[in-house]
Amino acid sequence: MHIDLNQWHPIASSSDLPKRHIFHGQLWGRELAVWRADDGHVNVWENRCLHRGVRLSIGLNEGRELRCLYHGWRYANRTAGCTYIPAHPADAPARTISNNTYPGIEAHGLIWSAADPVGEFNTPEALQGSDVFALRAIPVNAALELVLSHARGYQFSPSGEGEASVSVQNETAGFITLHAKSANAEATLLLFFQPVDAGRTVLRGVLTAKPDTPVALLRHHNQAMSAMRDQIEAKAAAMDRPEPINVTFQRVDAELAQMPARAKSGPKAELRVSVTHKWQVATGIAGFRLEALSGQLPTFQPGAHIDVRLPNGLQRQYSLTNGPGETDHYAIGVKRDPASRGGSECLHDVVQQGDVLAISAPRSNFPLRRDALKTILIAGGIGITPMLAMAQTLKVQHLPFEMHCFAQSAAHLGFDDILNTLGTSTTRHLGLDPDATGAVLRDILTGYGEAHHVYICGPGPMLEAARTIAGNCGWPEDAIHFEYFKNTNEIDDSSTFEVALARSALTLQVPAGKSILEVLRENGIDAPSSCEQGACGTCLATVIEGEPEHQDVYLSPRERASNKSIITCVSRAKSKRLVLDI
């Protein structure tokens, strides 16, 4: 049997993918889970969950994500990246956890794919521009060659009844073209052969014109093809059963299987995106829609942020506002900061629609649990951006939540298009002074219950107030999640100390005026970072020994007190020596 993995084949009909269904397909022995997201995108994935290998075709199509039935791992529309692992509700899944996908093209009433495509999908000439009509697919338990040899003699009538002469007009890789002519009608049929496995083939017929009596024609071909199938299967039964195609699966992603190349130190901005839309979201807030120049943008989780490298050389962090499954673009909202050091100003005044920007892959240092009995989201001003992503996630999963947005006025708040989809779970608190804000926060945060979680993002003073009030209202620290825009603490970098890197077997001196992160990089250690001011948590390292002098705003008081983590871009050591797990 000649296996041509490069060839495109129809693998399903469009009508096989109704809303919230997962079609179970197969091509050259490779099982496929094929599903249409609510936005219409057709996903063709390897039919096994990365976790325990359970078939995804028995999973749940939730419209934006596919959920494995076994342990609830969720995978995003388009990217197939894992967005949530229920057994680790407080952590964001690693970016490298991504299902194997195949290309999927919907055209002419069919879904097309290829095991290992070479080049773009091209519509067969006979289907171009015509009002084509897909027939019922007929699976046949026989090898491709046997099916093909019979299909050349397939007999049908253009009108569905009466005699006709049928001839093979064309034969090419993957399908044959048959022409039928009767006294008063003619029709052209393309018969595609989907190689399911060594001994299994699906016949997919497409008429090049829609018949006058569609159902009658569907029945006519169904009957004729079923009869042909029975003949073929009778022959196949008398032959040796071919061994199924032995598919070797890549055990892990190539990126995981080998050590990544040593990257240049410093914050990464490895993706190129184009600004496909820039708009006024609210007073002083600009929205940006970013699309990949080529390929697929990496998976994100609610609460994730990206680094944006600006034309003026600065780099800034912005939260994604995307809802789950909105994987064809990233959306960010940028507030013009009156005290701008050039970041927000540049995005507002310089960056235009059509410009190309360099960004980092999304990071999830503000992950959303999806196992809370109740979630409260509190947003101050532009702090609404990560909350929008979280709220949309909770909404589509029907998880109980309320969102409270504090802003100067409705015009300053913006994002009505998203907020309006959230319905009554969202409350706008407009024009309140700090005292009134405090009173409302007390109101919101009264009544803590087990497995309740609160997420807070906003300007420093409001965030501090909300955290304090939550604490006073009995919220345990584990239930209070927060993200600062920036670290307003004055950083004291006057100390000198020694840092021992346990894994790297390296001992370094950190002098006054330099951060641990800088010293790491000077010595060739590639350490990830993003904001580099102690707010985002990207450069967090585990402390094995010694007492850190915390100067960040990322760690919670308990995390600080435990002395088990350190934010290396700003924090230092109280002890003479720190041992880090690097």
Binding site: D16, H24, P89, R219, A451
Partner: protein, 228 residues
Amino acid sequence: MKLYDYELSGNCYKVRLLLNILGITYETRTVDFYPGREHKSPELMQLNPLGQLPIVEDGGQVLRDAQAILTYIAVKYDASGQWYPVTVPEQLGQVAQWLAFADSITATASAARLHDTLFYELDIGAARAGAHLLFRILDEHLWFAEQSGQSWICPGDHPTIADIACFPYVILSEEGGVSRQDYSAIRRWCDRVKRIPGFVPMSGVFPTSSAAQKLKETPAFRRDTIGP
């Protein structure tokens, strides 16, 4: 109503499914079908000399045979008359036809499952081949039903007990080594059955996602203790 029930029996599941969909409260008497073979005990043989499950007791009457029990429950307890349309001969005829078909599914797909899971000695090849033959017929039937805008096995806008009768051993077929990969219309119909309000799963039958937006999801995975 009392149902003599075995958890892993698809025929008992049919009855549970309809009772749940209709919102009828019932009690169960658990029968040790495997390995105890309690359905062959004198007590149970007295109730059903065929030595099979399910058996239902209701108001002093004892009834056996899954399809007969579904018929009885629908006529007696479904005031809408839609699950078993006694007043519409054309529909009723169809329902009766597919109830008999459900029996054939039991004789093939269920037999294959008994062989694979409960170690029954029977011709497994014949059982599986028989199931595939029936599934081809059902898939074709459902595919053309979809073409004319119909969702269920029998004509009409509402499911009938024919859907309930056919569903269990179709959805459990893979436990008997009968794949449904080639039956795309059957797979879609299974999703529709799972979305009937009041649907309940059983071991080996999984729920599907909601087509509507209304589903109330309670967090399925929760840690009892939070924090380190």
